[in-house]
């Protein structure tokens, strides 16, 4: 490998030399202006802290109800899983599956995989399944939809607000914070993580 590795624009195939960036900066393709690579504001320590915080908030978001509805003295509340099960029971199993995968399983996998990859990377000793974990992270990233779910919940809260008293619950705040944390984690370029891994390998 040469001192400055090459990087190819994934949008137009133009070859560039990889140069070191300042934190928070990003490089764009000279030909098509597509994003080439970026350097996150966060270092590995901050990434690890974000991962731990995400795991904690993920548990809160899923353990507590998202919203509670009160009308005529009857209270109904639901967690994310309650929602998935209700969707399944009412005949829209496909919708239940989409919600379970994109709001529960993929975000959980993302957090777990970061938790698996980062400590080893930081210590300079890669975990055994580092490659598989990184490939999986790359694969599931577009299918994690916590932020979309959050806005979707807000839409239906307003819709139901006409019929009954609908109040946000801790689970909803959990998903709001989780959205911020996952966005921060997503600012880390996986390609940069690969370069980091290469640099730290003996």
């Amino acid at each position: 490998m040469p001192a400055s590795p090459l990087i190819i624009c994934e949008y137009c195939d133009t070859v560039h030399r990889h140069t070191e960036l300042d934190a928070g900066a990003s490089a764009r393709c000279i030909n098509c202006d597509g994003p080439l690579y970026r350097r996150s504001r966060f270092d590995l320590d901050a990434m690890l802290a974000l991962t731990a915080a995400s795991a904690f908030v993920f548990i809160i978001a899923n353990a507590y109800p998202i919203v509670v509805m009160q009308s005529q003295g009857i209270t109904t509340e639901t967690t994310l899983w309650g929602m998935v099960i209700a969707a399944w029971d009412s005949g829209i199993a496909a919708v239940a599956a989409i919600a379970a995968l994109t709001v529960f399983l993929f975000p959980m996998l993302q957090i777990s995989l970061y938790g698996y990859v980062l400590p080893g990377l930081r210590a300079g000793k890669l975990p055994r399944e580092f490659n598989a974990a990184m490939r999986l992270l790359h694969l599931i990233r577009p299918w994690s939809m916590v932020e979309v779910f959050l806005i979707g919940v807000m839409v239906s809260v307003v819709k139901m607000g006409k019929l009954a008293d609908v109040l946000p619950q801790p689970g909803l705040w959990g998903f709001a914070v989780l959205t911020l944390l996952l966005t921060a984690l997503g600012s880390f370029d996986l390609r940069e993580l690969w370069l980091e891994a290469e640099a730290r390998q003996p």
């Binding site: 190819i8 202006d33 009308s71 969707a87 496909a94 994109t102």
Partner: protein, 226 residues
Amino acid sequence: MRSGMNGERATAMGLIGCETCGLVVQAPRGPQQHAGFCPRCHAALHVRKPDSLTRCWAYLIAAAILYIPANLLPVLRTTQGFDRSSDTILSGVVALWNAGSWDLAVIVFTASIVVPLLKIGTMMMLLITTQAGSTAHRAERTRLYRIMEFVGHWSMLDVFAVALLVALVHFGPLAQVQPGGGIIAFGAVVVLTMLSTMSFDPRLIWDAVPSTNAASVPAKDSGRNE
């Protein structure tokens, strides 16, 4: 940025960029699509995504067909006493607007109506121009593709909203709410358009060479590509 190498392309230099980890490797000789595995991350290497245009078309046509029931079938059926009503995606937006939540109406209208339509239309345009070997407006077409990549999953918003509504009101005292088939079709449209976008290889936009006819007016062409 002075990191460019005179704008030379990887195919011209006999290089492949790994789609998964970004490593640059020497491409094997020959026109085959499969080029072995990345030495760093072990993902399959391709000069271009395999059967990109065919797969992109297949997902896109399926999405366009399902877009019809997604909009015609109700997404929610409400029974309130003797009142029965059903909402399609569009009538849900109108109801939001009439209820005075115009801000949410705009969000849902954009995510559920504008984005899927724009996505299907844009992907068709990208496919047709790429298959025709067009060399016009390449940077703009590539930018459009990136926008499609970015907005794709936001259309799932209505699917989640309906699921939550069903969970809260399903057995509630106020009304019976049953989901309609429209929401399944709609969820499928979102997934299919996302798969379509992922299958498309934007590098194909830049693979087109100016045809021999166009070569007689090279000045205009090169001016645009600069």
